[in-house]
């Protein structure tokens, strides 16, 4: 009788058990996104500081690299309390929901061939799954703002929700022109199509611009961070959150930023494809971090817009431009196919 447990035995066991397999995929995605979020936070603090002629974190660790760990430990030993006016159940559940939903939107991101092969091939409309989870954010923001029991949080929640729903329509209309080019809602398929064609950032350039602007607003980053506006207002809907609850809200923001950048990379910039023979996962990761760095650069370079400018930009410019471009895209696809720019 062979009772020896071998590595291949474990792998076969995990492959056969569908629950374990997907739990493993989730853990891998979690490790990737944790490393991604840490790098994002470091870039956010250090790169931003360097642009503004500051130093950023320097004390803890070499070049301040351990500052984030120190901050996390500080959050973990903070006292846990809920404001007296808060609806305690919802107030405590909102951070958990927030991080869960943000994390679940990673499900659709094609990190790698190997991760891709672990996923069921029937998860075909993976883009819809990702944006379905993205679209839950306004609800969480409203619940969080209402449940905390402050006037500022309530108003902040309403403003956030108005901003998020205003930019959701241009966001979907812009990614639909990529769907028109690739004729698929599957992100793996979209990246595979780009292997034999020009990057969609070139073929669908107006959609690339509208998607980037709409994504900036969806992630509530400068110049669209007026719900947070940390130099003028307090912090928007999450003012009353402290300790690990704030940590969860903050983490979910960076997970969303990572997921959003990765979706942008997969849709328009060729995902895991690249000229040099680096593993595909590293390519996607590198491109995502570069896109995020550009977002930080935009944050350092642009002033914050006013709320009326923000809403006018969304409704009057982005929606018409992305809708007209969506109707024009099939003609572009036709011309590109004739000239061999699209497979």
């Amino acid at each position: 009788m062979n009772t020896q447990i071998t590595l291949t035995g474990i792998i076969v066991f995990i492959e056969r058990n569908v629950y374990l397999r997907f739990l493993l995929v989730a853990i891998v995605a979690f490790i990737i996104v944790s490393i991604g979020s840490l790098i994002e936070l470091y870039i956010e603090r250090k790169f931003w500081a360097r642009i503004m002629s500051r130093y950023g974190p320097t004390e803890v660790g070499k070049f301040g690299t351990l500052q984030l760990i120190a901050d996390a430990v500080k959050f973990l030993v903070k006292e846990d309390f809920s404001p007296a006016a808060a609806d305690k159940t919802i107030y405590n559940l909102v951070p958990v929901f927030s991080v869960t939903v943000s994390f679940a939107s990673l499900l659709a991101i094609p990190f790698d061939y190997t991760v891709a092969s672990l996923f069921p091939s029937s998860l075909d409309p993976s883009l819809l799954v990702a944006f379905g989870f993205f679209a839950l954010e306004p609800l969480i923001v409203l619940f969080g703002g209402w449940a905390a029991g402050g006037k500022y949080t309530l108003i902040g929640g309403f403003r956030s929700a108005a901003q998020l729903i205003s930019y959701e329509i241009p966001l979907v209309l812009s990614f639909l022109s990529v769907v028109v080019l690739a004729q698929s809602l599957n992100l793996f398929q979209i990246i595979q199509t780009q292997a034999h064609s020009w990057p969609f950032a070139v073929l669908a350039f107006p959609a690339f611009i509208t998607f980037t602007v709409a994504l900036l607003a969806e992630l509530e980053r400068t110049p669209f961070d007026l719900t947070e506006a940390d130099t003028e207002l307090v912090s928007g809907w999450n003012t009353e959150y402290g300790g690990t609850k704030f940590l969860l809200v903050y983490l979910s923001e960076y997970i969303r930023a990572f997921a959003g950048s990765a979706i942008l990379v997969s849709l328009f910039l060729g995902g895991w494809l690249g000229p040099a023979p680096i593993p595909p996962l590293i390519w996607l990761f590198l491109k995502t971090i570069i896109v995020f760095t550009v977002l930080v650069w935009i944050r350092a370079a642009y002033p914050r817009v006013r709320i009326d400018q923000m809403l006018a930009l969304g409704w009057r410019i982005l929606i018409p431009v992305s809708a007209v471009w969506l109707i024009l895209t099939p003609f572009v696809a036709h011309v590109a196919m004739m000239h061999g720019a699209l497979a």
């Binding site: 995929v25 869960t100 994390f103 729903i165 609850k245």
Partner: protein
């Protein structure tokens, strides 16, 4: 819609939720709540809070929300066209998007999209 992909979604939700709950409960193990009235009061720039937090809010948010729901249905109807544009008629989707743009124009002209 196969069964396996539901498991994939469930596992992601499970892991995210488990980590979230763990992060909320770990600090409760080694910190003791010491509530004071000031600590539990809602933040209002350091002043004493005035009245309740259940305040009235603008009707404007409602208008944006209604516009969003209507437009989102149009966008949702555009998704199947975007996947299979080579095989279906284009007239309905062009009409829908044109109506949507006309509504945006009407909203703008009427001033309902202005932030007062």
């Amino acid at each position: 819609m196969a069964f396996v992909e539901n498991i994939a979604i469930l596992m992601f939700l499970f892991l995210g939720g488990a980590l979230g709950f763990a992060a909320e409960f770990i600090p409760r193990l080694f910190t003791k709540p010491r509530p004071t009235p000031e600590k539990l009061a809602p933040f209002e720039s350091g002043e004493d809070p005035v009245g309740t937090a259940r305040i009235r809010f603008r009707i404007q948010y409602y208008i944006y929300a209604v516009a969003f729901v209507a437009f989102d249905i149009v966008v949702a109807l555009a998704i199947p066209w975007a996947v299979g544009w080579g095989y279906v008629y284009w007239t309905p989707i062009i009409l829908l998007l044109a109506v949507m743009l006309a509504v945006v124009g009407y909203y703008s002209a009427k001033g309902d999209l202005e932030w007062i």
